[in-house]
Amino acid sequence: MGDNVSTLNVIFTEFYYWVTVVFMFLIHVGFCMYEVGASRRRNHMHTLMKNTMAIPLITVTFFFFGWWIYFAFPSGLYWFNFVEDPLFYDPNLVAGPASPLMGTHLSGVNETDIAAGITADGLNGAAIWHRLNGVFWAAFLLFSITTASIVSGAVIERIKMGAFWMIAVLLGSVLWITDAAWGWSAGGWMVKYLGYHDAYASGVVHGIAGGAALATLIVLGPRLGKFRPDGTPRDIPPHNPWLVTIGLFLIYTGFWGFYAACNIPMISPGSIAGQITGETWTTTNIYLTPTTLSAITMNFLMALSGGMMAGYIFSKGDAFWTYSAGLCGIIGASAGNDLYHPNQAMFIGAIVPYVAYKLHFWVERTFKIDDAVGAVAVHGYGGFMGVVIAGFVLWGAPSSPYEGYAVITPWGNFIGGCIMVLLGFVPVYILCKILNSFGLLRIPAKIELEGLDFKGRAAYEAAVAEITAAERAMLK
């Protein structure tokens, strides 16, 4: 690993990302509480299993091909590239599931490594990737699972689990990581040619997830009873508002880990190998441009506060929308939270959820879209607006430390935001239409009315009847 400073930096960075991964897992605890709280009692276990089984399915597929996509797609689609730029890394060496660098590795090069084409040094070398590859993979994996989980809440109480898990794998291990390669990597074509800037993933995670959720909802249709005969919507309140709000607070907590995981904690100008001169080490965002952990911490809190304060007023104190507005406030400011002033983060965090809230009810009334948890609004509209606003507020700022990259502009971020939403919407819409045509998308109406926990409930009632009968018999 070279000298002691390099060794310390590598092991610190390894530990840093490990901590972020653990924090990010709380997002999924929060999602489970939130969704179960929002669903009705007869659908609890279905809601829980639908969300949680996305975790292992995305994990194994992200190991098999998701991580590879991130390194293979920065210029387009690997076999069909949009630009001619050479890739920063060899995806087969760095992220191929059969690469020795994807297993336990100690930075030396032995016969196994040589046979795989791995050298000691260089961008694809064992010296860089041996310890960090696994924690980078895990951090990106948690982003993947989060992206899919966002869709999960919108479709509760009527989607078949098998259909959702296919959507989750497509979104988590293919689509989002494709947009990350394009617009959320130092060598992505959207960064270089559009100046796309989305430091904490307003569009990269939330915009694409919102697009995918909207596509799913259009094909899936509303829950039975959601709309009155005259077409006006009924409210379907959460069975446990307390569980919903605690879930949202856990999502906030995990979001801290998410923010930290989007940074490179400590890197020298020499390692960046861009235009930055001198010897001053820095923290950077994913694009390797400077920021600080202090900046993103202040901006996270100010955006959250702006969102909650605005949400309380415009929802007239409704707990669900107040906390959702806090989340939407963070999402709205995330694209530029590496550079914003805290006051700017607060104002953006207050404005974005208000617009998203209005859009949610307008879309619900106009297009009969039943988004059970407001996921399209909070993540989709909020994320897209966040990207567009960052284009204006950061207009002219460099998108990259490398020469020849476009600067940040409103039009670059607008086009980028559209790409994010469409990349989630179009493929997922097609998949849902295919699943629907085979009758694999939606639960039959009879079961939807009885509750999706029918199988577990019957077994539960039978077990209760048997054990209580046995105990009563013992009293005689």
Partner: protein, 72 residues
């Protein structure tokens, strides 16, 4: 033109200070931020008082109150 004052990162970071957008507007932003905070209190109190007033005007139902007490 760059809102953060830097159009490229061809700089030595030891010479770089503030990098947030629209430097020079800090005081204005604080004034607006304080207005947002004070305004929030005004709106919140108005909303709360209106809700309480509406509830006070509603017909009193002792059976409802009794049930709520019993529910703990």
């Amino acid at each position: 033109m760059s809102t953060i004052g830097y159009a490229s990162w061809a700089v030595d970071l030891k010479d770089v200070g503030a990098i947030y957008p629209f430097q020079g507007t800090e005081t204005i932003m604080v004034v607006l931020g304080v207005a947002f905070w004070i305004g929030w209190h005004v709106l919140q109190i108005r909303q709360e008082e209106a809700e309480i007033a509406a509830e006070m005007k509603a017909e009193r139902r002792d059976d409802v109150a009794r049930k709520l007490i019993d529910d703990y």
